[in-house]
Amino acid sequence: MTEDKELGRVLEIHDALREVTQAWVRSEDWDEEEAQRLREEAVLLNHKRYFRSIPAYRALAEDVGVDENVTDVEVIKADLMFATDIFKSYDPTLIDNADWQQMTVWLRTVFGGELPGDYSNIESLEEWLAKLMEAELNIMTSSGTSGQYSFVPRDMNTRMALMMNSALVFQPFFAKVLENISEYDAAILNFSSGSAGVQAASNSIGNIVQTAHYLYDMHMPADAVRVLQRGPKNDEERKFIEEFERVMTTEKDLRYEVMLDNIRASLKKGKKILMQGACYQLKELCTKAVEQGSVILPEGSILLFGGGWKTFEGEKMGKTELLQVIDAAFGLKGDSAIEGYSMIEMNTMMTCCSEARFHIPPLIEPIVLDEDLLPKPGAGHRGIFGFLDPFALSYPGFLISGDEINLWHGECSCGRKGYAIDGEIQRVAGKEVKGCGGVMASVKA
């Protein structure tokens, strides 16, 4: 079988899985066994493709004594899953030294395609990402909680899959919105532009409405987090840090007030609101709105939130409490306040139901691993969340996340069946330090 032939069949399976997911989205009956069979077929085909084209994957396979002919998906679960940190497996000083040629060499190790061309004259991360985009390679970035960037390389097929799958999952909530998009303005608790993964969702929303209000009307440079972490190296970076601190700290309250004023102005024009933001920002906006006597949004308005609390763990609020604050601030509840869960390495989204479960669409195969990182069979366990993503065509899609979950399986009273993440999602706990050795926080050495 040639690679083209495998890709063709994988793309056919993608369509078939999306068809199954259509029924899942509508909470209709769907064939779980067939979906599983399709996923496994795509995973085994992708194994062959990865083995031939992704150097890191091939190295791991050879290390564990596996060739391209794997017939049992359990082998992949046990031996061929990467940590999502694989997308951070470069030397961070390459970025500080602006050595984009070597960064491209590294990227090739986790990417299943050629990256010809000269990258040695590139001066910034933004420029590097733009040049890769010219080569039809979309890199989604995330700074995570450690401040070191992940770079996830998506070819056009994979990028398209992410967009189509996400749209499919959100269909029940957004179908009507999209039909009547001219009735909406957007309130986006994010920067007005940037290349971080979370920014992609903001940009998608911002691009389809007539007016989008952004909490921070500034561009978030791709290398911003690294600059903030290591300190400025030149005047331009110093200026950025000053601007960033002004916007995020000095003007913090003012920004929320302006956002509320903008929302009120949209309401006066008779618009509904499409709102999006991270939990900690949403909490702050809601608190400010309640202080001002609430800003009740018209029926049909929708809020999409998620992303956990990350470095804002100290401000964490329980889910029920947060939903109460959202209701009190904007009058949004039930299907109007949707919590989403995903990660930049995954090509779908999940949404939380009324039973506090994030339902996993049949598009991916969820796995729970023990602290030894060995897979636990079936569902009903708490452990580290891993998944086999058949839609990752250009990078290894057999991945172990840094989140700890309860994997649930059954028929939920919300109407959906299949796998779900039940209850709270936590970052994998740090190692227990016995003795006085260790570090208080992330320290580069």
């Binding site: 890191a56 940590a83 708490r382 926080a441």
Partner: protein, 552 residues
């Protein structure tokens, strides 16, 4: 007076009983508090209820509180494979009320303890030390109990138990106090026992000199105290210890006793037996001694608000000494806002190998010494070396890394490592993630036994930066090649406790530059845990920090 063994027999303490239950006593201000008799049914019921309430698996639920007792649950180790089993040892400990441990009667402690001659304290320490050294059968039995759940190799346990008596050695205590509290060339113990005249001249301050009115000569002695006196006044101390070595709570106890301080010592989970042993010894040798009447050695689960809200409140203690785990240190710093903290923060050590090691063919010796520094308390101690910066070309660095791997393999052979599942998972995560492109030199344990096989030690040659949060602190050595040792200077900060260097000429050359960057100690390679009295600990003279220096 009863002996330690008699107290154990009388109250059925510190022996592994039916259902793997061990009864562990506390010392509460000089009184031995023994736990109630608790049966397995009650214990199981409490743990099952907590597992259900928290949704956590059995191995993640380690403590429960009953109405009149606390129960700790520790997994039993298979000493052959150094893997945990599904069975547990249950320690039943007494309950206590936090308020009863706090000392608020200052007048009593001044009379009874602060003014107690230091010689009497040393005499008591001597008796305590002798008592612990004269019960070898009990120590042997206790060692067997500790061994059931200990996550360190037998040789570390053996060493800990044989050094118990030494830890309370009165001569060492005298030297520590005399050297650490020494001032104006006067021995420290004098400052602790009495007001010591340190100057016979003084002058008025600014205000006194500028005073616009004239002083009246009255009795004539109002100006007489020109002599200045200094005293080291003991403090009420809370010691929050860390670690899984039975010695650590004993070191803290020795500090508190030596400094004549009313103290509460919190034993850590995994090492409650050492504190219990000292409690028994204290009650056996001198239950009415002021040092014992003002000492409490207890356990509570870290974060228990019913205890910590009281202990961390204003005026409860004069000093809180906190060792260890990042979360614990951060939590105490956040909550104990009104008490002076002596924090022994989590830190790590480094080894720096100069290119001379290769020029002189001594790199194997450097590797041997660096492995010694790596293995300090199984790499859990803050002085243990976790990163080795090596000045050399690619081949030289690899040769060094291989030599370290061989050294660690020898350590693994004589002291098999605990194959901690979370460390195994972290190694797997790094190998299949962030450090995928690094060079991995792995030593395995239980090789061929699929169920129990694991990585006992590992050397990873990393070309770029390494995030210390990713370190397992379990026989993992990160080797970073540098073209000049000076290139490693930017990676020094106050998180680094110790840098061992090879050869000596390079240590002498770089020592001050290293220490100026927040590092506390620079020793010759292989000597990270060498000991001497009176030296600094984490940049402090800890005994001095634990005292309140007073002027008169």
């Amino acid at each position: 007076m009863a002996t330690i063994e008699e107290l154990c027999r009388e109250h059925d303490l510190l022996t592994l009983g039916k259902d793997n239950i061990v009864r562990v006593p506390f010392l509460i201000k000089g009184t031995l508090r023994v736990p109630p008799v608790v049966g397995m049914d009650r214990i199981q019921e409490a743990f099952s209820a907590k597992e259900e309430a928290t949704g956590k698996p059995p191995n993640a639920v380690t403590t429960v509180r009953l109405e009149d007792a606390q129960v700790l649950r520790e997994p039993i180790m298979d000493r052959e494979t150094m893997r945990t089993t599904d069975e547990f040892v249950y320690q039943v400990l007494p309950a206590f009320d936090a308020e009863e441990l706090i000392e608020r009667d200052f007048d009593r402690v001044v009379d009874e303890l602060y003014n107690l001659p230091f010689e009497e304290v040393l005499d008591f320490l001597g008796k305590l030390s002798s008592a612990l050294s004269s019960c070898p059968e009990l120590l042997d039995a206790l060692q067997q109990v500790f061994r059931r759940t200990a996550t360190v190799a037998d040789m570390y346990i053996d060493f800990s138990f044989t050094s118990l008596g030494y830890l309370l050695n009165p001569d060492a205590a005298r030297e520590m106090v005399d050297s650490e509290l020494s001032s104006f060339g006067i021995q420290g113990s004098r400052f602790m026992d009495n007001w010591v005249q340190v100057s016979d001249t003084s002058m008025d301050g600014l205000s006194g000199q500028l005073c616009p009115t004239e002083a009246k000569e009255t009795s004539g002695d109002y100006k007489s105290p020109e002599k200045m006196y200094l005293r080291a006044m003991p403090t009420r101390q809370l010691h929050l210890t860390a670690g899984n070595a039975p010695a650590i709570p004993i070191i803290s106890t020795c500090r508190a006793i030596s400094l004549k301080s009313p103290a509460v010592i919190k034993s850590p989970y995994g090492a409650t037996l050492g504190g219990a042993l000292v409690s028994l010894a204290a009650c056996a040798v001198a239950p009415d001694h002021p040092s014992v009447r003002n000492l409490s050695i207890v356990y509570w689960p870290g974060g228990d608000e019913s205890v910590e809200d009281v202990f961390f409140g204003a005026e409860a203690f004069d000093r809180i000494v906190i060792w260890g785990a990042p979360d614990a240190v951060a939590s105490v710093k956040r909550r104990a806002l009104f008490t002076k903290l002596v924090t022994l923060n989590p830190r790590y050590g480094m080894s720096w190998i100069g290119r001379e090691a290769f020029e002189n063919g001594e790199y194997k010796e450097a590797a041997r010494r660096a492995a010694i520094d790596t293995m300090v308390w199984n790499q859990k101690a803050c002085i243990a070396s976790s990163l080795h910066y090596v000045e050399g070309d690619e081949n030289q660095v690899m040769a060094y890394a291989e030599a370290v791997q061989k050294e660690l393999a020898e350590w693994d052979r004589v002291a098999p490592n605990f194959l901690d599942p979370s460390a195994q998972g972290q190694i797997r995560r790094l190998r299949r993630g962030k450090l995928m492109n690094a060079q991995w030199l792995v030593n395995k344990q239980n090789e061929g036994d699929k169920k129990n096989e694991g990585i006992s030690s590992v050397v990873i040659v990393v070309k770029g930066e390494f995030d210390m949060m990713d370190h397992t602190l379990s026989r993992m050595v990160i080797v970073r090649p540098v073209s000049r040792l000076e290139d490693a200077l930017p990676y020094l900060n106050n998180s680094v406790s110790t840098v061992g260097l090879f050869p000596e000429s390079r240590r002498m050359e770089l020592c001050d530059r290293i220490l100026a960057r927040g590092v506390s100690t620079s020793y010759p390679l292989g000597m990270a845990d060498r000991m001497s009295t009176g030296l600094a600990h984490d940049g402090m003279k800890v005994y001095s920090e634990l005292m309140d220096w007073k002027n008169r």
